[in-house]
Subunit: 295 residues, 2 copies
């Protein structure tokens, strides 16, 4: 049996290596990116260039999207030139963008009305996870569709879980971002405290990272903060996007998230301070500047 054609829309820092893994696994891959140059490497590696989402939809059996903001997802899926209007019946559309759970549900239902299947399948693991095909993939949608898409997910990631019906993947990613947000604040406060107290923060990490204070952020971002290295990692501007989605979603469920709200408000100020393109651990800078100037 011939392998299905896979469309890949959004070949940025995450999408490029992911589409590359699918090519390496000998799937026929069609790619589209708004900025054409970003898919040139994939074309050279054997991908076919699609001229629009509509063209990708017409040519492919499965279409993966990995774009930026929920507004980009909407544009890609809806309208006359969108994926849903131009896909064949039976196509599977998989949005791997971190986006709104409510939008995932809307895509699922709109697609279903045209006999098209949709999964929401955001990931964690960042660009390194994407390059190493080691992403965690959190999937929402029908189990039967998930089972059909599973061989593709296995090409892209390692920790793959269907979390429930449509939107459940995005909701799970929101849990991930919510847990990260407050933890990151604690890590930054602890490191700044250590420095203000005249301690060697690297030495402090040795005492605390293996115990109850231990976390991925403390062990992985702590040393970068101490070294003054704020290269992303994960961009401040993208984390703001995710926290906005999480907060809106939490509010729609009448859930109080005071930690998330606090951290989001700090990140908005951080972006205004010119740190939108820094890594999320630049939150430390907010604390330091505010502490040094609030007297």
């Amino acid at each position: 049996m011939e392998k299905m054609n896979i469309g890949f829309i959004g070949t940025g820092v995450m999408g490029s290596p992911m589409a590359g893994h699918l090519l390496a696994a000998r799937y026929p891959v069609w790619v589209y990116n708004r900025t054409e140059s970003k898919s040139s490497v994939l074309i050279e590696a054997g991908a076919v260039r699609g001229l629009s989402p509509a063209a990708i939809a017409a040519a492919c059996d499965i279409v993966i999207t990995m774009v930026g903001f929920p507004s980009d997802v909407e544009q890609t899926y809806f309208g006359e030139e969108g994926l849903i209007a131009n896909s064949k019946q039976g196509t599977i559309l998989i949005d791997m963008t971190t986006s709104s759970p409510a939008l995932a549900l809307q895509i699922y239902e709109t697609a279903k009305a045209s006999n098209i299947s949709a999964l929401d399948a955001p990931v964690s693991g960042g660009d390194i996870g994407a390059r190493n095909a080691a992403l965690s993939i959190m999937v929402g949608g029908d189990d039967e569709v998930y089972q059909r898409a599973l061989p593709i997910f296995h090409v892209l990631g390692k920790n793959i879980e269907r979390q429930g019906g449509p939107g459940a993947g995005q909701h799970t990613k929101m849990c991930n971002q919510i847990a990260i947000a407050s933890n990151l604040l604690g890590v930054c406060e602890a490191i700044l405290y250590a420095e203000k107290a005249g301690l060697d923060p690297t030495h402090v990490l040795r005492s605390i990272e293996s115990g109850a204070a231990g976390s991925w952020s403390l062990s992985n971002l702590g040393p970068r903060i101490i070294a003054g290295n704020y290269a992303p990692g994960f961009f401040v501007k993208h984390f703001i996007k995710d926290m906005n989605i999480a907060l809106e979603s939490a509010r729609s469920m009448n859930l109080l998230t005071p930690g998330l709200e606090l951290v989001l408000s700090m990140f908005k100020q951080l972006a205004e301070m010119g740190e939108a393109e820094s890594g999320t651990h630049a939150l430390y800078k907010w604390l330091k500047i505010k502490s040094d100037t609030h007297l």
Copy 2:
């Protein structure tokens, strides 16, 4: 050479197993506890009962204190009946209580004026760490004194680090508690979000705990929250004590800790709600109750 006499003041849930390990290592151990019955098991195991901190000081070469609040530490060290007034020259006093860095410095200087040495050496690892002699020990004080006390620390713990001069041990413990505080809030918000969104939170943990959201609290306290098991662990009332010390210390250094302040304010309400004797992960209850009633 005969082994030094070790005094142990405060034989509660932490101090008891710690003193027991010293006995097992064949040190002569003198014990004192305000509530006499709490040291009975140690007496049966071969410890000598001291009738007061002053009596312990008179009999011992090294005195370890593991009491409750900074006010208990003050009472034990200062005044006519205190450790400093009644210790021989050359004695080493080691406060392993989680207490104020400023108080540690005050003890160090007062003791030094009488040719008595003092270390601050708070621990992490909880009652399980104490029982398994697996505590992390964070030490402040003179290096020469630290070196002399090191064989004793090795009986009690595993990850032993001198972090600097007097107060540095307490400051390090504050870093530990600050990192825990905000992280715990993120963990509770994430789990409640998962439940409100209709996800299976145990399943969500499988997706997120191995990645950037991963932490000791998520993996160890998350399952207890999901199971509705709020047994301590670490008591709400003790964490409030620690966070109060950390906040006071941070303020004295002009350090802003918005995460710590937020979590402390929530914990104070949690204690008023009758949860002072619960484990710290009862913070989840605050979120759930407030979310369900704030409409």
